[in-house]
Symmetry: D2
Subunit: 375 residues, 4 copies
């Protein structure tokens, strides 16, 4: 299993030699990106699925080829199946597509399949993919070459498996990775999020709960944020430092839902292992200088810079800053010393939850996989 995340240090586990050779071969083969890859999108009617449709409409070489959804939508034209909630039109091309069932065999003509699914239906194609992966692909069981999922990872018979994390975690992890790459391990993090509606899908949160109100709870979100942040950061450090007690990284999360359409805000406080810790100016500089692997690779959707460091005292704000880097960047503001001494520094980070937090990350991963020759 391989995982690619859009960060400076790809969190690849140590490879077996045979794998590495295979990769090298692939890299040689695919030095020039393919003129066009056929893309399938599972869960195409959901909020992440819709974002995939929008992002792929403008992509240089990933071309939307097939869309899948639940049996309720199967067989309908996409424009009839979807309740389109994006602020830009879907385009006639996809509107006329007939929605397929979310079964692996239905996407055998795709080079890469993205999933906007959280759960059940995703499980189906994942399961069939997993079963297939334990034996050689036979002509009678055609499979898409790659599934890039937003939440979980499964093995396929061929191609690469790429995973994404929880939609809130990237806004936390990217700045942390930037700081760790400059100043070494972070030991403790406290993060309180103010998360957008689109993270809950549609219909999601009732308006009755978010007019003149906030909801101080998101089911399962805090656990995911804590565990996935540690996992990704552990992987990130793994390559860099021979022996790292990353288990010593502690992440404490509290998640709130606020009446914002898109863009998760994270109020982050953290401490470094290094004594004395870097000051705020040094941290801002480190984040500004941070270069992501996807950028170095030349991924066409990679934002430059990957992290926008904002100096205005009241930024980042979801409505104003979620589109920075076309939604592929994370913006960081209010980076300041924690004068109280509870932590070393504090900052506020913002990330577009359905772009860099979900669909955009999958696209970056696919771009990286292509450029590295894995596809």
């Amino acid at each position: 299993m391989r995982q690619v995340v859009p960060t400076k240090s790809p969190p690849l586990p140590p490879k077996k030699e045979s794998d590495q050779k295979k990769d090298a071969a692939k890299l040689i083969i695919s030095l020039s990106p393919p003129s066009s890859l056929k893309i399938g999108v599972l869960g195409c009617t959901g909020s992440v699925g819709q974002r995939f449709v929008l992002l792929l409409a403008q992509h240089p070489f990933l071309r939307l080829h097939a869309v899948g959804a639940s049996s309720r939508s199967e067989g309908k034209r996409y424009r009839e199946a979807v309740r389109w909630k994006q602020d830009r039109p879907m385009g006639d091309h996809v509107g006329d597509m007939v929605v397929r069932a979310c079964r692996a065999v239905e996407f055998a003509d795709c080079d890469v399949v993205f999933s906007g699914l959280d759960s059940d239906v995703a499980g189906d194609i994942g399961a069939s993919a997993s079963r297939n992966s334990s034996r050689p692909t036979s002509p009678s069981s055609p499979m898409p070459k790659t599934i890039v999922k937003t939440r979980s990872v499964r093995s396929l018979s061929r191609g690469l498996l790429v995973c994404n994390s929880n939609c809130a975690v990237i806004g936390l992890v990217l700045p942390l990775a930037g700081l760790q790459s400059a100043f070494g391990p972070i030991t403790s993090v406290s993060v309180v999020t103010l998360q957008a509606l689109s993270g809950a899908g549609y219909p999601g949160v009732p308006a009755a709960d978010l007019v003149d109100n906030v909801v101080p709870f998101i089911q399962g979100e805090e656990d995911k944020l804590e565990s996935e942040a540690r996992k990704i950061l552990g992987q990130l450090d793994h390559e860099r430092v021979a022996i790292l007690h990353q288990l010593s990284l502690r992440v404490s999360a509290t998640c709130n839902r606020v009446p914002v359409q898109d863009g998760h805000t994270a109020c982050v406080s953290l401490s470094f292992q290094r004594r004395p810790p870097p000051d705020a100016a040094a941290c801002r500089d480190a984040l500004r200088r941070y270069v992501a692997d996807v950028q170095t690779l030349g991924c066409p959707s990679a934002p430059v810079p990957p992290i926008f460091v904002l100096d205005e005292q009241d930024r980042p704000q979801p409505r104003l800053d979620r589109h920075l880097g076309n939604g592929y960047a994370v913006s960081v503001g209010r980076l300041r010393a924690d004068e109280s001494g509870v932590f070393d520094i504090k900052f506020t980070a913002l990330s577009h939850n359905t772009i860099i937090g979900a669909a955009g990350s999958s696209i970056l991963n696919a771009e990286a996989a292509v450029l590295k020759g894995y596809i």
Copy 2:
């Protein structure tokens, strides 16, 4: 200088003996509350001032007698001077009152003067009050007996001085006081707030900044929250523990503005000095058992309980819970162990910022002062 806050342990500094005698005398005198005290409200047109008007309209013995505002409003009837933004009518009584200038002499016929002012105009009457306080009150310089201010404390020639804190701090301090009274010192606190609009007054925050948005910054608020929490908690512990290194209490605050009319939400993480720390169930119990001094004293506006501990996993919510205890209570929910180990426990607290966070606190203080015989 005496300070009364609506908590179990009144943060009174050790008194000189002569003072204590005087107090005792007063207490004897005022065992029965006066049938009616004449109340003045400075800054009557602002959001806190309007809240004073609403709360006093229903009060058993504090009777609104005079209202003061800036020179722009002076001489107008209250209903013409104010842009009334409360969801209940002001009442004809106050609507017909003529607004006075915010000069001390204008309120000489009041027994107690409350201030809903933040700054300049408040300064005027405060200054004149302070100057007067250095010498005996003469007939030619009539003064109101007491000024109860929402932000600062000043000495007057007679009567008691009572202070309130920042409108966000009470929602933090009351649960902390409850926990400290049961489990001893808290050593570190990290608090992230989601604060309501009315805390910024009117016109306050433009709607353009809070539709589909949150603002991750409130000018000066974090400093106030950090310093006032430490100050109040220090005082609270002072009586209880002979020697207390309360300076070792560290409070780290981050403040956000969210599109909520009333009710500040605080996401709180904290650690105790005691090892092992109390578990979540013990903490919930302690908060449920907490009794505030104002309650023991029999203050008519004192909420019972002062802290509502909610078990629902998605509470407290501003719209649903800010009216608990008629807005005089603090509600606490999601009290849980911090499994990450960064802190001991985490919880979410909610307080009505213009009631218990401002006008209501002043009223409780005044009630306490009356019942203790200070007025």
Copy 3:
């Protein structure tokens, strides 16, 4: 079938003599209201049902005795069955009640049953009630004495049937009734509403549809508003004018959903039959002088006045004015001549959709029925 609506002229159809005698008898019997009537509420978990619970908690003689809901809730304690979304606590009394099934037999111990149901479950008890009504009530088929429904009317074996209208119509009809009673028939009305969330129940409208957005459509609402307004106004005029071509009253409605918790706003334009039409000042006066039957009867929940005429140029506003008359009143503002000549006058009306628009109307009807001796 009898209908009572909270207006000056009860829209009773001409009665048969025998009925009138019976009524007179009842009136004599019930000159003094009962010390307490046992009330059942169907659909107790919905937004109208929750409003019934709140309003009955403070009622002088209607006492909440039983609550009913769908089979999903049956047998649970109310506090477990309901997702309480009101901004005041439900109270322990009702919280401990066990939810009954919505079958007539379950409410046989109630004097009056209110329904907060729109549809299916309501149909059950309605149907069984209707069936029973065709024959004398037998001991083996115990029935509640009265069902007061919010939407439809059905006959019962004994007692009175009282109907309410669509939750938006009362805010339109009450001012129209006031104007017609003073100036004679209105011939054409154009109304555009901005309706609150609670009218759609819970979960109702997704927040994704109402953050930075309005929805210019409410399924079925415009038809209801047009037909029910004509029906009620026709009835109102019926008593007053011997022969009235009220079918000539034309009502054109457009309904929008806006991000407001409670309170439907209606922008109304209308023309009178009378030439020249009354001017704006005369219309304001007529509305101010309007007296509702429920007020004359002495219904304890009847607001005085039933219509608040506001002079401020930017009122009524939902947040500020929906509680006028404890939510039982309609507020009217911006009453002005239509200088364009398209209509005679224009105004904006506001009504609390779950109080006077639903539960409150039922309560007024029940109070009236009691005071008139129908119950």
Copy 4:
């Protein structure tokens, strides 16, 4: 004085022959648009000014050359002077521009000057322009060639004067023009608007007024909407029909403010002179077939189609549809017969108030003026 509006029928008054010759000459000269025109923007820090900056950043031949604002901003870099509230970055080019005073002489190096000003500062440059226009331009009094204002029209010494209308009127007038061009005169219109925040500028409406609320009043807006709609429609018909009693067109407007960032919604009811009136299907067809002059001219920003007719029953919605045609189009939905008989048809129209309602209209006008050779 000439006026250009982005509609099928340019509302030009009958021209004197000499003028017509001059126009013809200009048209010949400018058959090919200039490679680049230097544009100035007055009121560059306001919400319309910011929209000009965004729209010009992507324009093929209108190049932002100078920005002007009040004396408070004069001499500062744009990025320091402005409180940027757009959801896309301003760009470095304009961020570094030094803000000029709003005096005519300061913009003498511009080919066209747009104004985002409502009032005072705009008056200055207008006044100086007007004074200059009474005499030949001298080298000592350099003037920008053209001022394209959003609200008012003034004569300049050379070039063309182009006017825009109230930001809400275009969403009403464009569909009306489309219907009139197909079916002849409209006799009466009733329009109720739900208008966006950005129409009030910044800071504009306080959030306290629009959280859980709508405001049923916008100062001066109804008069403007009524009078400007009649004026523009009168002009539109003037060319088409020899004798038109357009004064008989009556427009009745009611304006509300709702918590929407951008996009004015208009609920429109209207009647035609023609009996029988066209049915809804015919009206939808007519709007779909409508072609605007700016489109025929080949204006690069002209949307195709100018009117999007939507068939979904719950559209248009501000968040979803305001960007249709890049914000230069008007979308119309819910076009239906008025079954009540009060009017002939009803529909809901949506327009982006700072694009087609303000800055975009100016840009279209300038494009048209260039393509017609007036500049």
